[in-house]
Symmetry: C2
């Protein structure tokens, strides 16, 4: 297969050839034994990924569609939902609740900060009749991970609230044992840490979540109860993106072969190498060290240098594509996806391209300090 550019945006990510090839299997009917075998394999592999005994589903839509799906299956008009807002995707979550007629109790944070369990506890105790805590685990817009998620799970449990987690840019790249942490619904997308092409949202559903879903006025395409009913015969209600189902199944097989523990460690080490390199070059990651994401690296652009120019030079001269900032940080930050197949090779090549582009654009740093810092991290 042709190698294209190195795609280092926070999704879509580089996809292994094995996964690409899985897409071109001969077409099958979605009402056939061959499809049912695929569905069953996928279900088993998704349970491994989510670390759950609960129900799991793959839906043909983007990650944002997946987030809207789980919200529209759990929020009725008037329902109160606690949502910490600390970036573009938590804003979107709030927006989706509002469009459903729900009442978000917003806990605002600066972009780059992480919500704390303490602030969420306060909000939960200050309000009556809250139905759920809905939270983004890894803010793709700011590169922040909510390290308090296990404690937030306890708060949800103690207050008998549903815990709904957007893990789009993190599941498969960092720890998230859905059952153990008390996550009732967890949603992710195919094109991030799973190293699969985009087009599928995946989510898990707990027993407690089913009670809520059953009492919600649900949409049609996104009706999770209908998905459950069809899943009993290993089918989807509507025709799914069959090539992407094959690709996802293959991507999850690769994850099982590697094992989650090793996969998380690999992501952590590569992210540390990125942060070391960025700081060695005199640049500043957006979040404080304790809440820095291991899957999305976000840092401030150098003073006096245009972020778009950095990206353009990296792409055109050095064949590496990274992302600009998101939302209101669009021009102020740059973002690197440290996801999926990420290894020492992609990390060093990306740091090298970044360092070269900065020097080309007149940035004042000693040549090679970035790659040397990254390299040292891998030598440890």
């Amino acid at each position: 297969m042709n190698r294209g550019r190195l795609i280092m945006v926070p999704g879509p990510t580089n996809v292994p050839d094995r996964v690409m090839r899985a897409m071109i299997k001969p077409m099958i009917s979605h009402r056939s034994p061959a499809f049912r075998r695929l569905f069953e394999s996928l279900t088993e592999n998704m349970r491994y990924l989510f670390q759950t005994q609960g129900d799991v589903y793959a839906l043909t839509s983007s990650g944002t569609g997946g987030v809207e799906c789980i919200i529209s299956n759990t929020v009725n008009p008037g329902d109160k939902v606690v949502i910490p807002v600390f970036g573009l995707f938590s804003e979107r979550m709030k927006e989706a609740v509002i469009r459903r007629g729900g009442r978000p109790i917003e806990i605002p944070f600066e972009w780059g900060e992480a919500p704390s369990a303490e602030r969420i506890k306060e909000a939960v105790e200050a309000e009556d009749e809250i139905k759920a805590i809905m939270i983004v685990y890894n803010e793709t817009s700011t590169g922040v991970t909510v390290r308090d998620l296990p404690e937030i799970g306890k708060i949800a449990e103690e207050n008998n609230l549903l815990l709904v987690v957007d893990a789009v840019s993190i599941l498969g790249g960092d720890e998230l044992p859905v059952d153990r942490w008390g996550v009732d619904i967890c949603v992710t997308a195919s094109q991030k840490c799973l190293a699969c092409p985009p087009g599928l949202a995946l989510f898990s559903v707990s027993e407690k979540a089913w009670e809520v879903i059953e009492e919600t006025r649900r949409p049609f395409y996104f009706d999770i109860a209908m998905m459950r009913s069809f899943s009993r015969r290993s089918e989807t209600p509507f025709t799914p993106a069959i090539p992407l189902f094959y690709a996802l199944d293959e991507a999850l097989r690769i994850i099982r072969e590697e094992g989650l523990e090793r996969r998380f460690r690999r992501h952590r080490i590569c992210s540390e190498a990125f942060y070391d390199a960025i700081e060695a070059m005199g640049l500043k990651p957006l979040p404080e060290e304790a809440v820095r994401s291991r899957t999305v690296i976000t840092f401030r652009r150098p003073v006096g240098i245009d972020g778009a120019a950095v990206r353009r030079v990296m792409d055109e001269e050095y064949g590496v594509v990274i992302a600009g900032g998101a939302g209101k940080l669009r021009d102020e930050t740059l973002r690197i996806g440290c996801m999926g197949i990420i290894s020492e090779a992609e990390t060093l090549l990306t740091v090298n391209a970044l360092e070269n582009a900065l020097l080309d654009l007149g940035y004042n740093a000693e040549s090679g300090v970035g790659i040397e810092a990254a390299r040292r991290r891998f030598r440890r």
Copy 2:
């Protein structure tokens, strides 16, 4: 690429190798110049397909998701919508309107009948404050095409109603000039007559439709106004199924190379061969001749022979997969997709497999009459 079974269900259909291979192009970012070039090519090719100067969009979802999308962008709670119901997919359309809080004015027909312009005119004139006519052009469940659609377009225009058309199982296989027939929104899916894998819904939007969409309380993932706003920079609001975008672009290039006229004629001739063969074998197509679909062939199972057994023998012994009935006709009918790459070869092989399976199951017919009837049609 491996040849699998011959997939003759009414979607997903057999996909040409060129289209399959388009999926494995190296991954790109959906916020890159490469993606914008793909988006622009796709837009131009979709305009050709829909025969429209209006706006066109591709959305990552099944066809049913596409139908829900256009309904949730045009129906507000309380809105009255005329819907002829004559099969499973027009039922679904009604259901989606109800879930939106709309008020469907249902015009019921027997399954196998086609709605007439006359009946729709009566319904429109009997009610005040109707907002739209929503109609399935080709009922995949019964193999019926609404041949009165051009006249229904005139009724919509005269009464200043929106005309919304579900053309999921027909667009690209039979005539539907969206602008000329006054269709305001037309929706289809990738895996039917376009011979592309499943996972994308496509739709067109007229100027008149935009006025309605702007005044509708829209959902999030399905927000067409947001799609328009992102399309101005040749992007989608959310990460699309990029491999399927490549596949669809290639599938539409193939359609342009063949030309719509020739493509429609090919579908028509193959469908006539199917109907001739079915009748020669003593079987009965469900619809009357005048409204028989050229893309979905639906016929009654032979008396005393189990339809599921026919399908099983065709699949296991002869490598051809056809569909059972849909909805309440599940056990009473069989359905064949006459779509996409359909040619004399697939038609004869399918008729042959059907005839063999029937004879194997003890059906009393002269051996070879089906294939002879089909063959004669191609000789004309």
